[in-house]
Amino acid sequence: MNAATLAFGILFTTWLALTVVVQFHYERINFFRRFDVLNLLPTWTFFAPNPGSTDYHIIFRNRFESGEVTAWRDALPIPKQNAICAVWNPQKRHVKVVGDAVSSILEAYATARSKGQSKESIESALIFFGPYLVILNLVLQSAGHPPKTVSLQFAIVERTSFGREAPPRPILLSQFHRIR
């Protein structure tokens, strides 16, 4: 075995060991994950321990110069699954982006609350938070903003079991964001 092969052997062993370590979601162990900008240390705990059993809907409404506000509309309706999706499903990426951004917002919100921050201070700080801007951008780029719109507001709404057992629950309401 030459030196290069040995070096790669050590690399693979280290990579595997680090992957094992990050399966345990401990803050102190996972501090080096911030350096994993290329996502080479995957967490393989799919749908566990908490299975993803919630739909997140991003709804928005527009406000005109007159002060009139439109009804709430869905910015990015979740596409229906069909047989084609088993083979071809590019739309799943949009849904995943929403899910990732919302999960990050909820995690940050919970962490801030656990540290004693008030709801108002958290919500005012959220507008500087990356995932919040991702959601805001999604709303801005979604179709259907009337030309008279001067500002818009969005909400993140959580729904389980297609709303059969409980009505959808708003979990975040943004301020009105001026767009013109």
């Binding site: 075995m1 030459n2 290069a4 092969t5 790669f8 052997g9 690399l11 693979f12 990579w15 595997l16 992957t19 094992v20 399966q23 900008v37 290329l38 996502n39 080479l40 995957p42 967490t43 393989w44 705990t45 799919f46 749908f47 566990a48 321990p49 908490n50 299975p51 993803g52 059993s53 919630t54 739909d55 997140y56 990015l76 979740i78 229906k80 699954q81 999706c85 088993a86 083979v87 071809w88 499903n89 739309q91 799943k92 990426r93 949009h94 995943k96 982006v97 899910g99 990732d100 990356g130 995932p131 801007l133 991702v134 951008n137 999604l138 780029q141 729904r159 389980t160 079991s161 297609f162």
Partner: protein, 283 residues
């Protein structure tokens, strides 16, 4: 050496990994190309937004300018088309040739750039595809020693086993999964299910429990089955393929099929090795 012991060839294993990995890359690239307008400055995946999410390290002004050009809509479309071309090149080139190695190198680099770009929206299938791709780039080529190819194949197999074991253990210790309700809850929503699937499992909760516990047991026992005598490894691999196909059908997670099946030749290789196979390292 007994004549009954099968010879197992790490080279043909690596070639099959490359075939399925390339299919995974082709599928993902085509899907992203079909929605590539979302990578524009006025799209859902605008780089102007993603780059200020705080997850992008600070770079010098020149590198930032280069980054902005490469990761805008035109740059991403070019990147995806190059990925597509490289994947076809990897499939059509003989193993261990410069042409194939250059194709794998392009795939590894372009996939890393794309991971950097897509801070949101990527999933475990993408991570497995990238991991396999980088490993192939490091171990397959005209100048890499054959022992290194062996290390790479074993690494891919071990990562695959870890993925199933980690997923299974995390489910095993979860009260929701232990109750048998998890799969019913997951498919009873629009994100990863449908009204039809949800209604079906609500009407037949026993089926839901069986599928939930079946998922846990499959994932936890998968790595063990690979090391057991034949036909246990075959049962594990066929079950795995059926598992991923059914997830694609019910939940729309189509990209997990080629991503995880690309590791199956490596898993088959390891199962044969641990079942008395004689390793044939070419040269």
């Amino acid at each position: 050496m007994s004549t009954m012991e099968p010879e197992i060839d790490v080279s043909s294993t690596a070639q099959w990994v490359i075939y399925v990995y390339s299919v995974s890359v082709i599928l993902t690239s085509l899907e992203y190309l079909s929605i590539s307008r979302q990578f524009s400055d006025v799209g859902y995946y605008s780089w102007k937004v993603f780059r200020i999410t705080g997850q992008v390290p600070r770079l010098s002004a020149r590198l930032m300018t280069l980054q902005n050009v490469l990761l805008g809509r035109t740059g991403v479309r070019t990147l995806l088309l190059l990925r597509l071309t490289a994947a076809v090149g990897a499939i059509t080139s003989p193993l261990g040739t410069w042409r194939q190695w250059l194709a794998l190198a392009m795939l590894a680099v372009l996939s890393c750039i794309f991971s950097w770009r897509q801070k949101y929206g990527e999933d475990g299938a993408d991570q497995m595809t990238n991991l396999v791709g980088i490993t192939l780039f490091l171990v397959v080529g005209p100048f890499q020693p054959e022992l290194l190819l062996f290390f790479g194949i074993c690494f891919i197999a071990l990562q695959a086993m870890l993925s199933y074991l980690s997923a299974g253990v995390a489910k095993l210790i979860s009260p929701v999964w232990q109750s048998g309700a998890a799969v019913g809850l997951i498919v009873d929503n629009a994100t990863y299910g449908s009204q039809g699937a949800g209604n079906f499992l609500r009407k037949l909760p026993g089926v839901g429990k069986a599928v939930t516990w079946g998922t846990v047991l499959f994932e936890v026992t998968f790595p063990v089955m690979i090391f057991l005598p034949w036909p246990a490894p075959a049962i594990a691999l066929v079950s795995g393929a059926c598992f991923h196909l059914s997830i694609a059908l019910v939940m729309g997670l189509n990209n997990f099929v080629p991503a995880f099946l690309s590791t199956y030749p490596a898993l088959f290789f390891v199962s044969q090795l641990t079942n008395g196979g004689v390793l044939n390292l070419p040269g």
